[in-house]
């Protein structure tokens, strides 16, 4: 469903994404892990069609995101890492606007808006300006806007930021159910516990390159470790700080 072929992006002299190849089939949740500045957000933004690659290609459901952007984007729902939205619109208006961007309108959209607002406990806030929403409420309304048009592919950058435990659980269940019914979700997260329980496959990206990819067992093999948890595997792959380094900082 998502195919990356030699995907590359430079910012001046800095190579943010360096020739990534990846194939994500339909009906699964794919997790993109990596340290800060590894290139996760840039990769997701290229998949969502926001940034244009300097090299390589992105295909969504067989449509090239640069060559056939309309068709590719019609299949997509995107949730960014920072919940910036139109502050002077109400929650319901934002959802109606987003549906309009996908060419949808009328009673079906109104019904869908009601469903989504009810699901996230936002119904009492539907006619309030988004500028009065909390961080978590903004995250919820953005997730709702990504789902308004029943996308085939969901690209989510840091999904749990700002969500309370109940909403976080709801999102997990929603993503699982979404994948089980044929949807493809690609998520980037620093919450390794979430990735471990939710993702069917994982890729670890470091300095713009994929350094490990597969199931958790595949990652253990790559890291040459018997560690049970993803955290140990991840730190081994990405060379986390040593006890000595931590001791020096805390001691100082």
């Amino acid at each position: 469903m998502i195919t990356l072929d030699g995907l590359t992006k430079h910012y001046g002299d800095f190579t943010a994404v360096d020739g990534i190849d990846l194939e994500v089939p339909p009906g699964l949740i794919f997790g993109l892990l990596g340290p800060n500045g590894a290139g996760k957000t840039t990769t997701l933004r290229m998949i969502a069609g926001i940034l244009e690659p300097d090299g390589g290609s992105v295909e969504i459901g067989g449509h090239d995101i640069v060559g056939d952007p309309r068709a590719a984007r019609s299949l997509l729902g995107f949730v960014p890492d920072r919940p910036f939205v139109y502050e002077k619109l109400t929650g319901a208006e934002l959802l109606r606007f987003t549906a309009g961007l996908y060419g949808l309108g009328g009673p079906e959209v109104e019904k869908r808006i009601d469903e989504l607002l009810e699901l996230w406990d936002l119904a009492p806030w539907r006619d309030q300006l988004i500028e009065s929403y909390s961080h978590g409420m903004r995250q919820k309304i953005i997730i709702s806007s990504a789902l308004i048009h029943h996308p085939k592919v969901l690209v989510v950058d840091e999904p749990m930021v700002g969500l309370d435990p109940r909403s976080a659980r709801l999102l997990k269940d929603l993503l699982r159910s979404y994948a089980d019914t044929g949807g493809t979700a690609m998520i980037s997260t620093h919450t390794l516990e979430l990735a471990e329980v939710l993702c069917d496959r994982l890729a670890v990206i470091d300095r713009g390159r994929i350094v490990a990819e597969g199931t958790l067992d595949d990652l253990r093999r790559t890291a040459a470790t018997d560690a049970v948890g993803l955290e140990e595997v991840f730190l081994r792959i990405t060379r986390g700080a040593t006890d000595d380094e931590i001791g020096r900082v805390v001691g100082a």
Partner: protein, 572 residues
Amino acid sequence: MSSASGVAREVGVLLRPKLLAVRRRRGSRGRLGRALVLLAVGAAAWPFIYITLVRLLTALRGVEEIGPLLAARLLGLALLLFLGILLLSNLIASLSSFFLARDLPAIRSSPVDWLSVYAARLFETVVSSSWMVVLILIPMVAAYARVYGGGPGFAAIVLASVVPFLLIPAAVGSALTLLLVQVFPARRSRDILAVTGVAAAALLVLVLRALRPERLVNPETYRNLVDFLAVLRGPASPWLPSGWGADAMMGSLLGSLDPFHLVLLWSTAAATFVIGAALHYRLYPRCFTKAQEGNENLMRRHFGWRWLEALLAPFGVQRRELILKDVRMFFRDTTQWSQLIILAVLVVVYVYNMQVLPLATGTGISRYLVTLVVFLNLALTGFVLAAIAARFVFPMPSLEGRTLWLLLSAPVDAGTLLGAKFLIGLVPLTGMALALALATGWILGVPAGLFGLNLLAIVGLGAALTAQALAWGVLYPQFESENAAQIPTSLGGMLFMLGAVVTLGFVTLAQVWPLRGFLLSGLPGREARPPLPEELAFAAGLTLLVCVAGTVIPYRLAVRRWEDIGRWSTDA
């Protein structure tokens, strides 16, 4: 409380990030544009203020006995006006620096003395709200120094008067803001102050126009002016800092300086600072907490958007939602829609100016004057259009900065997005221009053929200037800017204005031929005739050509540039 040196050190620490930000932004593209705009305005305004005042003061000086008195009254009036402006702008600026600035949570959670926070924020408020008044004061006091022979001593007195004069309204303004936030949440207070500020500015424009300042350029009316000023011989605000400042400065110039005025200024500044600090100590923690409350946000569903939705139905769902979104955001942002107040006042003043033009009808000269005014009217209306497009249309692409992710990840092509923005700009802009042209054409009694040509040029200019504002907005976006009012002062905004003036020049020149024929026909020995159809047709064709090219080329450039946004924008 920390010691005085501790407070001074902490104030330095608190102000340092602002100074560094100013220094680092100096080289950026937006800053360069703003600096150039300021330089251009300054280059035009300073000599104008200086020369006008020197001329006026010289004339007043010639009036025996009451000359210096009138000059002092004039200075007092100007300072009184500045005091009002300063108070209002300090009210608005202190709302931002004391309650809405993004670094406040970090500062509030740090172990910095409350007095240091108050002093640093007050300093920021003074700088951000007073710089423009200081810029206007410079040529003013220079003119007084020139006419009354002021030297370095006068400069020292000016400095000693202006510093407390700026500090007093800042301390009073920030204290009033503190009290206002006690009653309303900070964002609501900002909205109230924004509308009050714009309405006050609009009122000021109307009052200044009603005074008919054009009479100042006519020496014959000086007698009347002197009479007018002489009427104001009542108390010259003896209880206000403006009166003390004016008395101190004029006293220095006339050799009768009373130090008591300076003592009054400095002691009042110190007193307002102390009272402001005490209020800050007592109320600020509670007010800051209250300021974090949201806006009044319950939207009334029966507002009437339905009729607009129905009206926009033929444009399709995508365009309709894009247009609705922009219109809603505009009318819900007080800082945006309140600009319409001042716009309406400018239109009224413009039409009023046309009405009071001394065009004696029925004389030979009036024919030439009216035709010349028709010609100028087109240029002036075009310039008004350009200024409005710069204010409202040029920022449109930039205002999408933080929400680009939503537009770019959806299947919306550049043509649809920019087409919607073009329509949003075109309809009100052309509508207003047509209303202006119809009103002024009717007042001036323009011949039918020329009137039609004028209307065609106005509609064409509306389209061309909208497209060009949009194109420059896409070519030079300010995605990081959060203040729509600042965006037009960037380099892109200035380039748009230059391009608009060139377009305006071409369209105005296209009207020359029929106007020329019409004028020449009135010469002695020739039969007066209206412009010939072929002259009008040629001018209309040329106008259409310029306007269509001036619309289509920039619009296409904008679409092409936006299609590539994922490649060039670091904000995407």
